[in-house]
């Protein structure tokens, strides 16, 4: 069974509802911006204005409702990419700070934050990558995209993160997801995706990864669960914690290297094939 989690771009009914209610709130109440986390602010008002393209400012109350609602929806139907995205954005606010701070410690990570490269089929030049020799990272990456019949353009944009830089960090995190598959060799099955979430949890500590890691397996068959916990999870925890922080990697510049070299330099062993 193969599942592609992040493909949906249709705005959900819930999101449209949110847009309407925030517009209503804005028009009826005075603005109350906060300079620091600890200034008292009403739970019914969004703390900032629109900070970037696609930003939907929501109040703390809306955020709480969205977090709970999207959690249940995503658990019931993991194919709802927009719900998974919403869950990630409403719960990961504080931890995106941590990823960004880790990126600030690394020269390559700082370059990414400064230049903010975007990954689309255009910027990746997929046709050029297809011409690369077999066994190079770029060739295997495009092979993976073609097999799954997906493209890097189908990611859900970021809506609910109240900071331009952190929204970019979230977007980069999503966009680099396909590279993680190519790097680790994990299949795009449900248990493969969950294994990758365990890997990311070991790396980043994002709560969304923890939610997927702990609740996702509930949906698996017992055989798949066994494979997950006996093979994939130990591998994921070991490699996730010892490898270089993948958010600091400028994937665009590693395309011509052989996959083994990339794995070696980043400190990741390919996952066991079962």
């Amino acid at each position: 069974m193969s599942a592609r989690i992040f493909t949906r771009t249709n705005p959900s009914a819930l999101k449209q509802c949110l847009t309407r209610t925030s517009a209503l709130a804005r028009s009826t109440r005075a603005a109350a911006p906060s300079a620091s986390l600890f200034t008292f602010r009403s739970p019914l008002e969004a703390p900032t204005g629109k900070l970037y393209e696609g930003h939907i400012p929501i109040s703390p109350l809306q955020r709480a409702i969205l977090a709970v609602g999207s959690a249940f929806t995503a658990l019931a139907n993991p194919l709802r990419g927009d719900m998974v995205a919403a869950l990630g954005e409403t719960t990961s606010g504080i931890f995106l700070n941590r990823i960004r701070d880790q990126m600030l410690q690394d020269p390559e990570g700082r370059r990414i934050l400064r230049e903010r490269p975007i990954i689309t089929s255009e910027t990746m030049q997929l046709d050029t990558l297809r011409q690369l020799p077999d066994g190079t990272f770029g060739r295997e990456y495009v092979r993976f995209l073609d097999d799954q019949q997906v493209s890097p353009d189908t990611r859900e944009p970021v809506h609910f993160v109240d900071s331009e830089e952190l929204a970019y960090v979230m977007q980069r995190y999503r966009e680099t997801h396909d590279f993680y598959h190519t790097l680790t060799g994990l299949p795009v099955t449900v248990d493969g995706e969950i294994a990758l979430k365990w890997f990311e949890m070991a790396q980043t500590g994002l709560p969304m990864t923890m939610l997927s890691s702990f609740f996702g397996p509930l949906r698996l068959s017992s055989e798949e669960r066994e494979r997950l916990f006996n093979v994939y999870v130990p591998w994921a925890l070991e490699n996730g914690s010892t490898s270089k922080l993948l958010m600091n990697v400028r994937w665009e510049e590693w395309m011509e290297k052989p996959v083994e070299d990339v794995q070696r330099e980043l400190g990741v062993r390919p996952c066991p094939q079962v």
Binding site: A30, A31, A32, P33, S34, A35, S36, L37, F38, T39, P47, T48, G49, L51, I94, R100, D101, Q102, L104, Q105, R110, R114, S163, E164, E165
Partner: protein, 533 residues
């Protein structure tokens, strides 16, 4: 009591001259010199024969004649209580007030969360004694906010001029005032002998039978100039490693902080501060996880820096080129701890930065400012953001100096014929600017106690005469040490739940006027007026 012998550089067996004194003060620092002045200026104690011993040359104190564009890097904040004492002993009038800066306000904030508390001298209630002081002095306290002073005149006159929170001036400047007073007293005929450039070689006391002879139990101080001073009362004002304290076998309890304090004299551009009045007279302190960084106001566009941080960072900061050092200090007041971590890591072993500090800091400042302005686009007029301290434009050459930070308290301040004042008795973290003030409070109290003993005909060196000093000073000093220590530990972490709790607490206290008032008055040392004769 035991004897301590130090290594003597001269094997002198020649007949040593012995002189008798009533009080011998070991240590000519601010505490020791202030005690000498205070004793000389009081009526009864002015008849005592006092000696002041100092190992270093005091001439650079009495010859203090600095340029208006240079400030020494050892600057202290003097509370109103300390200033009142200095006025009383005639030192304040000797000072050049153009080199004394009034601190009218303080802004203190959390480097991780941004939670802030602001103190303004104008809000301090001038009349009533601090509740906490009343508690520690053993009086029946009146609750904060209740004004039971029925003297209307006192009320009106005290509130007319709000006192600054503190005055900032160089330690050398205060030393200068003290030495001038000492010379003045000597000229008046007061028996005050100063032994400068003189080291103490040993302190002994009579043992066994000789202790039974008259004055046999008096401490004898052997100086390296061959003299021996025998004294009724020995005062240890000789700093944190006090030999007098060791002689008296008094234990010093406490710990070393894994932090060094780096001081420096900064040149600032007041026009860059967003605080009212361009931040003149405002002290700024930001708590970083590595330790607090503080900028204390001086006059004429200068400021004093006290940055408590890890030993490695303190040493690196000293070696950095001036331009990068100033950029880093500015960043330390605004950038996130993660951003600062990156910069600390990129200081080479010779002190040269491994990356372009200016560029990196500019980039991060740009990102931060963009987010701030976006956040305020929706805002009403109240959204000014937090006040910013003035930008540092230069650092005075050779003023960057690190020193280790520690907390110490002696198990006792008094022994038979021995008393400790100042750093010899207690050492505190500099984050609250209290150390010197505690020392001056000790001196003021001891002078009073000695006066009282004299007037009642007691032996000033007898431990029973000295106990009132210990009772009065021990608990307040301990309380201050403990509070400052807990604050230092509370802010030494960036662990999420602790940050959240302390920020919530700080923000809450910032909104509670009466409590802030109490804190300010406690820190300023304000007490009930004329509580004592």
């Amino acid at each position: 009591m035991a004897a301590i012998r130090f290594q003597s550089t001269e094997a002198t067996k020649a007949a040593t001259t012995t002189e008798e004194y009533d009080v011998v003060i070991v240590g000519g620092g601010i505490a020791g010199s202030a005690l000498a002045c205070a004793l000389a200026s009081a009526k009864a104690s002015g008849t005592l024969k006092v000696a002041l011993i100092e190992a270093f040359d005091l001439s650079n104190h009495i010859n203090f004649s600095p340029r208006p564009d240079q400030y020494s890097n050892r600057v202290s904040s003097l509370t109103p209580k300390s200033v009142a004492f200095l006025k009383k002993i005639g030192v304040w009038s000797e000072l050049d007030l153009s080199r004394v800066a009034a601190c009218e306000g303080m802004q203190v904030w959390d480097g991780v969360s941004g939670a802030r508390i602001t103190f303004d001298a104008a809000n301090v209630d001038g009349v009533q004694s601090s509740f906490l002081h009343q508690v520690f002095s053993g009086n029946v306290p009146t609750p904060p906010g209740v004004n039971n002073n029925t003297n209307q005149e006192t009320l009106d006159s005290s509130n007319k001029e709000a006192s600054p929170l503190a005055w900032m001036t160089e330690n050398l400047h205060v030393q200068y005032g003290l030495q001038k007073q000492i010379v003045g007293h000597q000229a008046r005929g007061i028996k005050l002998d100063v032994f400068e450039k003189t080291k103490v070689q040993g302190i002994t006391t009579g043992q066994g039978e000789s202790a039974q002879l008259p004055k046999g139990d008096w401490p004898a101080v052997q100086l390296d100039n061959g003299k021996t001073l025998v004294t009724r009362l020995l005062v240890g004002a000789d700093g944190v490693n006090s030999p007098v304290r060791s002689f008296a076998k008094i234990e010093s309890l406490g710990w070393d902080y894994s932090q060094f304090g780096l001081v420096a004299t900064l040149q600032i551009d007041p026009s860059t501060s967003t605080a009212p009045g361009q931040g003149r007279g405002i002290a700024w302190q930001r708590f970083l996880p590595t330790g607090p960084i503080a900028m204390l106001p001086l006059n004429n566009g200068y400021a004093s820096l006290v940055w408590s941080t890890t030993p490695k960072i303190a040493q690196d900061l000293k070696k950095l080129p001036a331009r990068d050092f100033c950029a880093l200090v500015n960043a330390a007041f605004s950038a996130s701890p993660a951003e600062l971590e990156y910069l600390y890591k990129n200081i080479g072993p010779d002190g040269q930065p491994l990356v372009d500090f200016q560029k990196e800091i500019e980039w991060r400042t740009g990102v931060r400012d963009a987010e701030m302005s976006q956040t305020m686009v929706r805002g009403s007029s109240s959204s000014q953001g937090d006040d910013k301290p003035p930008r540092v434009v230069d650092v005075q050459e050779n003023t960057r100096a690190p020193f280790p930070l520690r907390m110490r308290n002696s198990s006792s301040y008094v022994e038979d014929r021995v008393v400790l004042v100042g750093d010899a008795a207690h050492t505190v973290h500099p984050l609250a600017g209290q150390g010197l003030n505690q020392g001056l409070a000790d001196v003021e109290c001891l002078t009073r106690v000695i006066e009282t003993s004299l007037l009642s005909g007691s032996d000033i060196g007898n431990i029973h005469s000295l106990t009132p000093y210990s009772s009065e000073r021990f608990l307040p000093n301990l309380a201050m040490l403990g509070t400052v220590d807990k604050l230092s530990k509370l802010y030494n972490t960036d662990f999420g739940p602790v940050v959240w709790a302390r920020s919530l607490g700080l923000t809450a206290v910032d909104k509670m006027g009466p409590i802030k008032n109490e804190i300010m008055r406690f820190a300023m040392g304000l007490e009930e007026p004329s509580n004592r004769t």
